[in-house]
């Protein structure tokens, strides 16, 4: 479905804002399709699902968002426009920071009439999400070479079973192809930090410095957002051991899965189950 310039995949069922809403937010240089199995899983289990393409990603138009904070604001506005009053936010990597920021902003007075975030589920996350200067530099000078590196870091196993979306998919190749498509598909005249979409997204991750305050806001907030982390024990991009400060600040429960950074594709069933447990029985 489309909400103004934004595309959101609804998991194979029409979106109904009256149902409990689950919002999936992708990571850097990705799009909604990384959530294909999870989106269908929850759309067919009573949820209204919105797996969004961030502005300038995938099928969404618009200008690239200038910061994680701006992305959080954008997401809350989008949910309001979609008629959502309560939502579970599930974000991966950069998307998890956007989800965190949106949950924090939903506590602010100005957002009092906006959606309540019942659950914040951060997948493949850490804070701070500092990107090494070498990767940022490579992302600016040769984004396609940087894609090769990030694809290699993101997929842990040479043969995860079963992968997503199904048997026969070479996850490393699919991850690489998606990032390439996002870079090539982005408008060439858009104002990107670092000169391209890939560098832009990684710069946003690295520049975000509001995470612990945001976590505190969520924990202290009136909306009683329940916080969960789902982490890959073999994650080389956002190592699980580096999440202690964030997990503590959020008082989050943690679900570890035996996979790398791309939990949606390396451990799709485990992730769906972890999210289902987090939001409780329906």
């Amino acid at each position: 479905m489309r909400i103004r310039d934004t595309y959101a995949y609804t998991g194979g069922r029409p979106f109904d804002p009256q149902r409990p809403c689950m919002v999936f937010i992708h990571g850097a240089a990705n799009d909604h399709s990384v959530w294909g199995l999870q989106a269908r899983f929850f759309a067919h289990r009573g949820f209204g699902v919105l797996a969004v393409d961030l502005p300038c990603h995938g099928k969404s138009l618009g200008r690239p968002l200038a910061s994680i904070e701006a992305a959080g604001q954008w997401l809350l506005r989008l949910l309001s426009e979609a008629g959502v009053s309560h939502a579970t936010l599930v974000g991966h990597s950069m998307g998890s920071l956007i989800a965190l920021e949106a949950a924090a902003q939903s506590e602010e007075e100005a957002a009092a009439s906006g959606p309540t975030i019942d659950h914040l589920i951060m997948v493949g996350t850490t804070y701070p999400m500092t990107v090494s200067p070498q990767l940022l530099s490579l992302a600016q000078s040769d984004p396609f070479e940087a894609v090769e590196n990030v694809a290699a870091w993101s997929i842990y196993s040479l043969g995860p079973k079963p992968g997503a979306p199904g048997p026969g998919t070479w996850l490393y190749g699919a991850s690489r192809a998606l990032m390439r498509r996002m870079i090539r598909g982005a408008p060439q005249d858009a104002m990107f930090l670092g000169g391209n979409l890939f560098a832009h997204d990684f710069t946003l991750c690295s520049q975000y410095g509001h995470g612990l305050e945001a976590a505190q806001t969520v924990v202290d907030g009136k909306k009683q957002t329940a916080c969960h982390l789902v982490l890959g024990t073999r994650d080389q991009m956002t190592p699980a051991r580096a999440t202690t400060a964030l997990a503590t600040a959020l008082r989050a429960d943690i679900t570890p899965l035996a996979c790398g950074h791309s939990l949606m594709t390396e451990a799709p069933a485990g992730l769906s189950q972890a999210i289902a447990r987090a939001v409780g029985p329906r």
Binding site: Y9, G12, D31, S33, G36, L37, R40, F41, H44, G58, K59, T126, Y127, P128, M129, T130, V131, S132, P133, Q134, L135, E148, N149, A152, W153, I155, Y156, S157, L158, G159, P160, K161, P162, G163, P165, G166, P167, G168, T169, W170, Y172, G173, A174, A177, L178, R181, F202, C205, S206, R234, Q236, M237, T238, P239, A242, A245, G260, P268, A269, S272
Partner: protein
């Protein structure tokens, strides 16, 4: 530098020298090379038994854990296997491995190379659509496009593979696909994939390439502008002349939605949950539809046993292809020097029209199939083939054993004289597929057969 080991139930990292920074690190990523992928991609030790080699899962179907899981599998909410016509654990390893070797996003195994070509075409095209194809195709492919698909409303225009203007001129409003072979059969024409890919993309058309004669060890067409690749795995990928099989690889880089004329991928498919495949998977729309429609409904799937045998071949593909190339080089040099040989067609020969392109696209070698013409009559050609001892006279290429055939009377016999001429096949053309024997033995076999042929006609060079 990190240490890596491909052991246990994982396949990648054993130890990581992490930075102390939180967040994303800058360590050297593990990017496995071709030989490693040929052995490991898509496979992990069997979780049930610990078996290191890929097990053969000879089963039609798979028990559901629950009614809920069954529904989830059917509805693409969960990844897994239901029925071996659609997917199978052994076959999936082969599919993922070929996708890895070809730098694609997904592979689909089929009953034969012909089934792979049919699956690729019918996933994208419908009645009323049109293909522009190289005229230098394997006889079976030519037959499918020239005679069989028109019966279902899909037309093909054949053009000389090296004539870019002819490709462009043949495009119609209904054209949906460019199709050629990396190395044309049997003239061994080198397909200019970068130029064709560019031309195809400028007309929002997909480029499908048959890479059977090159295998990913020699050429990865997706890196040069092709959008889809298929192989007859019967040939070099398997390598042992024991099984029939095909593989299609989805490159994931073609934007079917932006192209605007691939409704099978961009409009709801009533045959599978009204799914719009380009919404479902940005980079795997083609392979999703091919599996959920083509494999399911046409049913030309690969047996898990066949998949296992092809996997055995793939594991040694780099070693075998290197030997194929060195043997071919020796044979070509011998034939070029023989007075009874009129011409040799192989891109390593300097006067071959694809020589320069082959040096660019095929630095490891231009394949182990070549053709040549003798100076004698058609009868002398037959005498030559009958005199060969090591070379087996049969209709195949890419075996570990050396093979020979007379295309005009066998593999391409349905083609008209005009089509034969367009494909560069003469009445006296002999095709060789160079195997893995001792090269001196191959040369000796050719030498004695050429001598017999020469005597049979009394011809003089």
């Amino acid at each position: 530098m990190r240490l890596h080991a491909i052991v246990g139930a994982v396949g990648a990292l054993a130890q990581t020298a992490c930075t102390l920074n939180l967040g994303m690190m800058m360590t050297t990523p593990f990017r496995p090379g071709f030989d490693t992928l040929a052995l490991h991609a898509g496979a992990t030790p069997d979780p049930a038994t610990g078996a290191r080699a890929v097990p053969i899962h000879l089963t039609t179907s798979f028990v559901f854990e629950s009614a809920d899981q069954a529904a989830a599998l059917f509805n693409l909410e969960q990844s897994g296997h239901v029925y071996s016509r659609i997917s199978n654990p052994t076959t999936a390893v082969l599919e993922e491995r070929i996708a890895a070797l070809d730098h694609g996003v997904a592979g689909i195994a089929t009953a034969s190379g012909q089934a792979a070509l049919h699956l690729a075409i019918t996933t994208l095209l419908s009645a009323g659509d049109h293909i522009v194809a190289s005229a230098a195709l394997y006889g079976g492919s030519h037959n499918l496009l020239r005679y069989t698909l028109p019966r279902f409303g899909i037309q093909t225009s054949f053009v000389p593979p090296g004539d870019l203007k002819a490709w462009q001129a043949a495009i119609r409003p209904t054209t949906r696909l460019f199709f050629g072979e990396t190395l044309g059969n049997p003239g061994i024409d080198v397909l200019d994939i970068p130029a064709l890919g560019e031309l195809a993309a400028s007309h929002r058309l997909a480029l499908l390439v048959d890479a059977t004669l090159t295998t990913p060890w020699l050429l990865q067409p997706l890196d040069h502008g092709a959008h889809l690749v298929f192989h007859s795995a019967t040939k070099f990928l398997s390598g042992h002349g024991t099984v029939i099989g095909g593989l299609v690889v989805d490159g994931g880089q073609f934007d079917y939605e932006a192209a605007g004329h691939y409704p099978t991928l961009t409009e709801p498919y009533a045959g599978f949950h009204n799914m719009v495949f380009t919404e479902e998977s940005t980079v795997g729309a083609f392979s999703l539809r091919a599996r959920r429609e083509g494999l399911r409904d046409f049913g030309a799937c690969m047996s898990p046993h066949t998949a296992w045998l092809i996997l055995q071949g793939l594991e040694t593909l780099p070693l075998r292809m290197a030997r194929h190339m060195s043997n071919t080089e020796r044979v070509v040099e011998f034939l070029l020097s023989h007075p009874f040989v009129a011409s040799v067609r192989h891109p390593m020969v300097e006067n071959h029209p694809g020589h320069a392109l082959a040096k660019q696209l095929l630095p490891r070698g231009a394949g182990a199939v070549l053709s040549f013409d003798m100076k004698g009559s058609r009868e002398q050609g037959k005498a030559f083939i009958d005199a060969l001892g090591l070379f087996s006279h049969l209709a195949n290429v890419g075996d570990c054993r050396s093979l020979v055939i007379h295309p005009a009377s066998t593999t391409h016999f349905r083609m008209s004289d005009e089509d034969l001429a367009q494909a560069g096949i003469g009445q006296g053309t002999v095709r060789l597929s160079i195997g893995l024997e001792d090269p001196d033995d191959l040369i000796e076999d050719l030498r004695q057969a050429l001598k017999r042929a020469e005597k049979a006609g009394g011809a003089r060079s």
